[in-house]
């Protein structure tokens, strides 16, 4: 499958040095701008945002649930290989686990800057509230990150050991450390790894579905004061759009990494399969959303219908039509339903990027509109659009994610190493 077989331990990282410089330069710009925005946020507090007591949750919360969803989506994509053993997906499952971990870190950064008292971020581990969905979520995240971390370990331990064998100095020490000094590369050792990978993956599926991303939806759905959220389908929407974003993101990364980092040929069958999966997920997302809308319309639930009117015709309706309908659904469907287009890596990349951006619109439309209508007649309507500080700090936090991912992609064997002769013992 690879055009040239790199000896184990060599040639992880970018194919082109120029591209590497440009890419790190781009990340540096994001980080620098983000640092300035974060400074403003730290010194001015939440007055630097457009949040109010009427709309207390905004862009940071929307990005937080976006990245939690992305993490869970990517993790579930990895289980297609690690648990369900779908063919061809071993090329992306390890990468998906790493994306899942980085994405979770990014999500937590978002919710951290959103806290009124950032210095009290550890309080949820000191004091708890059994009935709080948020309290449950926070504990689930810790467990979940443990699941991803250990999955990642069992997934790449043997390759790390091989890399340690073929490198020296700092790299060798890092790789050896990451194997936790279990350095056998025998087939038997790898079988043990795969067995544990499957076991942990099986535990991780309900954890990510029910708690991490489904629980995220529950967190909103239990707020009976907001009828738009207070629905049993709401957490399902979270799960489906998380799967959609996660799958799209992995397709995007697979093509880009294979081209730019691995320098290998792209497996068009894999691109085709993931494209088909995306079509299915888009249809599921449309169906669930339509059912949700239909239930509220047919049952004449006035408050929910009013919220839908805000979404479809309010001042932010462009985000619904252009991002949700256009970028997340219609445009990728047009690109992906044609089989010959779908197999084109460049077309797949465009479709996947479109979905990944469109789901940001989905997340904003889940969070903000329910806060626009007053909870009681006679109270003022809300209005919200993020400030420059909120946007730029968000891009900065995403820059942190890109940096973590890129460093990982440059030093870790996120694509399984080609089987060298010496290991077939």
């Amino acid at each position: 499958m690879a055009t040239h077989t790199p000896p184990a331990g060599a040639d992880l990282g970018f194919e082109s040095d120029r591209l590497r410089r440009v890419w790190y330069g781009f990340i540096a710009v994001l980080l620098a701008a983000g640092a300035v925005a974060l400074y403003v946020r730290l010194t001015q507090g939440l007055t630097s945002t457009n949040l109010t007591s009427i709309v207390p949750w905004g862009a940071w919360v929307a990005f937080y649930i976006y990245f939690v969803g992305l993490s869970a989506g990517a993790f579930l994509v990895s289980t297609l290989d690690t648990v369900f053993g779908l063919p061809g997906l071993d090329r992306i499952s390890r990468d998906a686990l790493f994306v899942s971990l980085v994405s979770m870190a990014v999500a937590l950064l978002f919710i951290w800057v959103d806290l009124g008292r950032m210095d009290r971020m550890f309080f949820p581990f000191i004091w708890r509230q059994f009935s709080s969905a948020l309290s449950w979520e926070i504990h689930a995240y810790v467990l979940y990150m443990g699941v991803i971390g250990s999955s990642l370990y069992f997934s790449m331990r043997a390759d790390l050991a091989r890399l340690a064998d073929h490198s020296s100095g700092l790299r060798e020490r890092v790789y050896t450390l990451l194997t936790l000094h279990r350095d056998e590369t025998t087939a038997a050792a790898e079988r043990v790894d795969r067995r544990w990978l499957k076991r942990i993956g099986i535990a991780g599926i309900p954890l990510s579905l029910f708690f991490v991303v489904g629980g995220e939806g529950v967190l909103f759905a239990v707020a009976s004061a907001r009828p738009y959220w207070n629905s049993g389908l709401f957490p399902v929407i979270f799960v489906v759009s998380a799967l959609l974003a996660g799958t799209a993101f992995m397709l995007l990364l697979y093509v880009l990494r294979t081209r730019l980092l691995d320098g290998a040929t792209i497996d068009r069958d894999l691109v085709d399969r993931m494209g088909t999966l995306l079509i299915g997920l888009i249809i599921a997302d449309i169906a669930i959303t339509a059912i949700e809308l239909l239930i509220s319309v047919v049952s004449f639930h006035a408050e929910v219908i009013e919220t839908w009117q805000v979404i479809m015709f309010g001042e932010m309706s462009w985000s619904f039509w252009w991002f949700m309908i256009g970028a997340a659904w219609v445009f990728p469907l047009v690109l992906l339903t044609n089989e010959s287009w779908r197999r084109q890596p460049s077309v797949a990349v465009v479709a996947a990027l479109s979905i990944a951006m469109g789901v940001v619109g989905v997340r904003f439309n889940l969070v903000v509109p329910a806060q626009i209508l007053p909870v009681l007649e006679g109270l003022p309507h809300g209005s919200y659009f993020p400030t420059a500080v909120e946007w730029v700090s968000s891009f900065g936090i995403m820059g942190v994610g890109l940096l973590l991912y890129t460093i990982g992609a440059e030093i870790l064997p996120l694509t399984p190493l080609p089987e060298p002769e010496s290991d077939t013992q």
């Binding site: 009290r120 004061a225 909870v375 009681l376 109270l379």
Partner: protein, 341 residues
């Protein structure tokens, strides 16, 4: 404004200083008549009062004053005199010499120590919100005129920053001209029996006290604002850290001792900035036997405060009447806040 030079301004009373002083004298009660109403010696009272005025004018020292009257006062009032702390002793700004102070020592200690002793509750279970009452409020919408003085009194009492208003008056106009009606619904925190805000708080920073009031522990709140999302009444506000310093000098010098905690000056990065805030039924006032500021100030006597657990209390009777209702009853929150329609 003085009228001594003969200038007369329309609408301004033309009175001189002597006439004003005479008005004060005319209003002052006759000392002999007043003191005759009590058992104590009238002559001693008048003599002590005259000397006290001399102390104020600086003609007599405080030490001399007590040297002159202490024995006579002790003889007149007996044991009660020695058991009552003398405010001149150990009061932070003691106005008499140590020798005189010692001669005046009260058997139960200084006024400060007695005050501190009185404020302390005897049982260890005490503290804010531990009372036996279940505080409830009833607002008679027929009496509310929509003047918003409750909102103003609340801001003044609780010293809330811009953007934070524990009480608001929702105003709705119904119908078409000329057949219109206007409804004013004052809205503090409902102090729900089943508060959704308490249910969702990930750190249990907000909780229900024994007296029914929902408390917020500003030292624990992480500012996630989930409670604001969950509150069906929009009663919670985030403290963004703004202040009235531009409008009022030293606006943040004093804060209200909400939930019985005196936090001193309002300062950056110090709670409750970055926390969620809401009406506490003026717990700090309830604890000292006063009504919440909004209830006390209401010009139409529309707002009532009392113990809902006491069936004979006015609020319990009102809450039980046919006119009584709660906001969003089908939310299941069961507010301790009733309205009379």
């Amino acid at each position: 404004m003085s009228s001594a030079d003969g200038d007369v301004f329309p609408g301004v009373p033309n009175v001189g200083r002597e006439e004003l002083d005479a008005m004060v004298d005319a209003e002052t009660p006759d000392p002999r008549e007043e003191l005759a109403k009590v058992d104590a010696d009238t002559d001693l009272g008048i003599e002590m009062a005259e000397d006290a005025k001399r102390v104020s004018r600086g003609e007599l020292s405080a030490d001399d004053y007590w040297a002159k009257h202490d024995t006579a006062a002790a003889a007149e009032f007996g044991d009660a005199y020695r058991e009552t702390p003398n405010p001149a002793v150990d009061a932070g700004d003691q106005t008499i010499s140590t020798d005189t102070a010692e001669s005046l020592q009260c058997t139960v200690g200084s006024i400060n120590s007695v005050a501190a002793e009185t404020a302390r509750t005897d049982d260890g279970e005490g503290g804010i919100g531990a009372g036996d009452e279940k505080w409830g409020m009833v607002i008679d919408l027929q009496k509310c005129v929509g003047c918003d003085s409750c909102t103003v009194a609340c801001k003044a009492e609780n010293r809330t920053p811009p953007g934070v208003s524990y009480n608001v008056v929702m105003e709705e106009e119904h119908g078409e001209f000329p057949n219109t009606t206007r409804t004013n619904v004052p809205k503090p925190c409902m102090q729900c029996e089943n508060p959704p805000c308490v249910q969702v708080c990930p750190v249990s920073a907000t909780y229900k006290m024994d007296d029914g009031v929902v408390n917020i522990d500003y030292d624990r709140c992480i500012g996630c604002r989930y409670c604001m999302i969950a509150c069906p009444y929009g009663s919670r506000h985030f403290d963004f850290g703004e202040s009235y310093d531009d409008e009022v000098d030293e606006a943040g010098e004093i804060t209200s001792p909400e939930y019985g905690v005196d936090r001193g000056k309002r300062e950056e990065n110090k709670s409750p900035i970055g926390n969620v805030r809401k009406c506490s039924y003026c717990t700090h006032r309830l604890e000292r036997g006063e009504e919440p500021a909004c209830v006390e100030t209401c010009i139409g006597d529309a707002r009532n405060m009392g113990d809902l657990d006491d069936p004979d209390s006015e609020v319990a009777e009102m809450a039980d009447s046919d006119r009584a209702f709660q906001l969003k009853e089908d939310e299941g929150t069961d507010p301790n806040m009733y309205y009379l329609k």
